[in-house]
Symmetry: C2
């Protein structure tokens, strides 16, 4: 909160990302420093010069077999009908694989083809040809050959070749130092006590991790206040001691966004605003010969901007290409809208269902870090495309290994806290498997099964007519599909209320009576359908409820909103209330079942899932939470009409 | 060399690799140790337990925009025809993105939609809806949600989420300690002076690199002599202090291969010999609860065995899946023969030519480390397949990034030392490009162009009739193809001879006169064709030449063989002799040209190649070597009849 009047520059450029990148790469012409390292210390480092072999390997004529060394020309008479007897020392000597062949010998006979007569004599019945079973000098490495060019990132086996060629200390490119400067009055260190309006500074640690992964050396500065003079001082110091400078936040065009002005004052600005979302409010400039990248404050924007501009600078310094992510073609589960004239970076969940990759966008909000953490891939919508229709195929860059995506069980539907536990248990049994879940609500879960976008959907849908859970919905919405309904959990739904229930809420009418700040769930969520049913039974209209339109996507999110609001109220499951130390007034015992295609249910993954649900370990974990009963091993619910 | 009589067990098992692996994974049931690390130290480490959020992010109602905070219900009357004037403090306050929304405000209006009247008053013409532009508590992270399960390898952005959720110190799995024990009387440390029969111990450093890459902690022991008592002592000590033990060499069935006996004596042996090549002579056992992997001595066998058995053990300890390599389907340029009943791991060069991946096997010799270093991929021939025909398609696992393979210029044909320089220069200009060369000789180079397996072939083929280089061969062998012949180098061919030329060789007849140890080149090599021509002109038969059948694949390899043999002699280029300090007697000035398809010559890559050949920097480098003249910028040779 700030009471000063508003002064700002509202507009940013929309410079194409590639153009902005090429400009700074051309402007940054540092000569990389070289350091000399012992080979064992050089793993992952980048050669600064071509490296040539100092010796050959083998560096002598070596036996390629266990056997005897002979003079080939003296064995030419040997034949099955004419065995040749050789005397040790004079005619032959024993050699093992790798042994040097002593003069005058020039061939090796394998031990399997030799008959030992006595300690001094052997018999052979076949001649040897010159140089047989002898490794030529330099068979592996030839002295003076180029082992690696400059710009080669050293892998484990490369170190062996260097040692073998007697290159023991090698020139590698110094890791470029990247100064990371977090700015903002709202920032506090992670260890600080939190208060309203304060944000933990974590981007710096994330940037440091990226820089390390890319082969640079991060140097993380302490938090700098939003004071232009202080920021200038820190930037000038960084321009002396670092090779690349990253300054976080203040890069937009708001009244506290000093970055662009300061860079312009101390050096030059190349770009203010790139045609890419999120990440648009990026500043690119140079101070005293060092490139400065001003990245936006929102985490996802920041990570993308870092990748677009700082990774290429690090790679340019090292003399290596920018690594490319593996790509895969996916079918889009939803329509994706994009703006003309700008690239859109859409974080995607990808599932592998029925032999096809299916992808759905996660939230587009740049402030939602978890959307980046949870994403399996990035869909990059080019500037000249306004989006894709549902069902279109598109190429995405993978943020996780392909195998991890292929082995994941895709879970859709209603949110329940036990799904994470289930995933964790699954991973204990099979480290290469997990459950990827998206909380879209029961109805959307059913639709995901129908569209082949999920393996399993969790649903809890009360039929107002039959008073039965789930069965009628599955019958109707998945008619004609070979699906099963697996009874998973019974759980308690009820009012989630501030500690002590100050408004004394125990029924929907109490919400109206007290004008409580209700927190609702999204459309299609089983809990919302339950709430609507409660309203209908009471004869109330949605308009009577304050906050009816305030939609959250999970029970925990509802509880989090209620937490700290003395007038708050929500509807959700018991463990969500318990987790936040809130009050809970039960409303219904509901049946939370799993819908699956029969083919999945009967597959190896499906069987494993059921096995884990039925395990004592999982049941114990769930029942310890409270408010649950694992049904798990009952019969499938009948879907017959 | 060893004069003791021979005692050995000749046969090894042929156990399927997967079976052998499952056995040791089942036998190794260590409980991983946990350590607690500060988040910033935990990059790349693996979570030991599920980790839950301690606080929400945002942990307060935060403005999602720069603007003003208002009470939504008090703005409902605002309209273009009915502007509403609000007073600071009472009716609104200014907020920036991320600021906390103070009570009683419950909505934000973007600054763009606000008209500032004076320092205390603003005007709005549109109502706000409750909670608009306010980030709900937990929009990103909800307190108590599971952030990561156990077995999650932490990436940069994950660290941010942990800090934001106030998980500052987290439980990770300790890196499993892998003891690496090199054994062998023939081994010397890399810094030692080399003598015949001594081999530099480099596998230990390579293993350490692999273990680090896989997330373990290598502990490399000094070299242990081939003495059973000493080996026992070291193994028992390792079983106390390490989690996994690797012992290098002595794993086969020769007379000094003690490993299997010692493991059997100290613990139990599960496997001695796996059905996979190279890498068959592997021993798997257990001593005092720790798995021991005895890997073969030949480098390529050793690296493969390590990957097959040690990587899964490390991953099992960490609780993560074994990473899979990216795969790609390639067309095979040559026939590949494999043995029934065993898997074959064939190192492959892969080129991307005319939009297709084409792959050729490198040497199958397990002792040739460079074949592993140079390989782009591994073709794994299953045990029930006896191989593939030329032109078949097969899937290979990539050892390099796909993009690196796609951007490489594939060079085939005759060996020349300048090709590495050319590649190095190319990489200076475009870090994502390089030349991948295989030395197959001029004739095979032409065939590679014909079959679409290479972009460029280097050839030097003298036509005995026309006395012209290259033209007649290209006309005949590439008839009907749209190719060009680019004049690249003139270079000196001659006799490569021991220092001082003790045998006084200056003609092919001198080889016969002195019975010199001749070192020849492989069939199809231009140098061999030249030698055959010399023989023919002299009226000599190949049988007259000692060593005619001793074939090397490069000029340097010929020089390496001549080096140190007072009776040696070879035919090759001047710089090879010079590099090894050998004598050189010129025989011919030859024209070394480049054949390319016209489409490649005119492509971006082709133009870049020519540009670098014509650069002063490249010419200087080449002419500094001696024996060369870069032709480079002359006209293309005419191929018209």
């Amino acid at each position: 909160m700030n009471q000063t009047p508003y002064k700002r520059k509202i507009y940013l450029e929309d410079k194409p990302r590639a153009e902005a990148r090429e400009e700074i790469l051309a402007a940054s012409r540092l000569t990389p420093e070289i350091e000399h390292l012992a080979v064992a210390e050089a793993l992952g480092r980048v050669t600064a010069e071509p490296i040539f072999a100092r010796v050959s390997m083998p560096h002598y004529h070596a036996s390629a077999m266990d056997g005897i060394a002979v003079v080939a020309e003296r064995t030419y008479q040997a034949h099955e009908q004419n065995p040749l007897f050789l005397k040790i020392g004079a005619d032959f000597c024993f050699v093992d694989t790798g042994n040097a062949i002593p003069s005058p010998f020039n061939a090796v006979i394998m031990i399997e083809h030799v008959h030992v007569v006595d300690e001094e004599t052997i018999e052979i019945i076949e001649p040897a040809t010159p140089w047989q079973h002898i490794r030529p000098i330099g068979e592996d490495i030839v002295q003076e050959e180029m082992l690696f060019p400059q710009g080669h990132q050293l892998r484990p086996a490369d170190l062996g070749v260097l040692l073998a060629a007697q290159q023991l200390v090698i020139p590698v490119v110094k890791k470029p130092v990247v100064a990371i400067i977090p700015t903002g009055n709202e920032l506090v260190e992670a260890s600080a006590a939190l208060s309203s309006g304060k944000i933990i500074e974590f981007n710096g640690t994330v940037f440091s991790g990226f820089i390390k992964d890319w082969g640079g050396e991060p140097r993380l500065h302490s938090i700098v206040k939003d004071e232009p003079e202080k920021i200038k001082e820190v930037l000038l110091e960084a321009a002396e001691t670092a090779d690349i400078i990253v300054i976080n936040a203040g890069s937009s065009a708001g009244r506290k966004d000093f970055t662009v002005h300061i860079i312009g004052e101390l050096g030059e600005v190349y770009t203010h605003g790139v045609a890419a979302r999120p990440g648009k409010p990026t500043v690119l400039g140079k101070i005293n010969g060092k490139i400065v990248v001003g990245v936006p404050g929102y985490p996802v924007s920041a990570y993308l901007a870092l990748e677009w501009f700082v990774q290429p600078l690090v790679c340019q310094y090292l003399g290596v290409p920018v690594p490319q992510r593996q790509k895969v073609t996916v079918k889009l589960g939803r329509r994706i809208v994009s703006s003309m004239g700008a690239e859109d970076f859409v974080r995607m969940n990808i599932g592998y269902v029925d032999g096809q990759f299916v992808a759905n966008p996660l939230t587009r909000a740049a402030g939602v870090t978890m959307s980046y953490v949870r994403a399996d891939g990035l869909l990059i919508v080019p500037p000249n495309i306004i989006g894709y229709e549902q069902g279109d195929f598109a190429e995405v860059e993978l943020l996780r290994p392909l195998e991890e995506i292929k082995e994941a069980i895709v879970f859709s539907g209603s949110h329940d806290l036990t799904i994470d536990l289930l995933s964790s248990q699954l991973k204990r049994v099979r480290t290469d498997m997990k459950i990827v879940s998206s909380h879209v609500g029961s109805m959307a879960g059913i639709m995901a099964i129908r569209k082949g976008e999920a393996h399993v959907a969790g649903i809890h849908l009360l039929d107002p007519d039959t008073k039965q859970y789930n069965i009628s919905y599955v019958r109707k919405l998945l008619a004609g599909q070979d699906v099963i309904l697996y009874p998973f959990l019974k759980r308690k739904q009820g009012w989630i209320l501030p500690k002590g229930n100050p408004l004394e809420i125990s029924a929907v009418t109490d919400l109206v009576r007290t004008d409580a700040n209700f927190v609702n769930r999204q459309k299609g969520a089983g809990t919302r359908i339950l709430f609507d049913l409660l309203l209908k039974e009471t004869g109330l209209e949605p308009e009577a409820i304050t906050g009816y339109d305030r939609e959250m996507f999970s029970h925990l999110a509802v509880a989090a909103e209620v937490n700290g609001d003395g007038n708050g109220a929500g509807l959700g499951i018991y463990p969500a209330a318990k987790a936040m130390g809130l009050d809970f007034v039960p409303v219904a015992d509901e049946e939370y079942d799993l819908v699956m295609k029969r083919s999945f249910f009967e597959s190896e993954h499906g069987r494993l899932l059921v096995e884990i649900i039925q395990s004592a370990a999982f049941r114990e974990q769930v029942e310890k939470i409270g408010g649950y009963e694992v049904v798990g091993n009952a019969e499938l619910k009948s879907l017959a009409d």
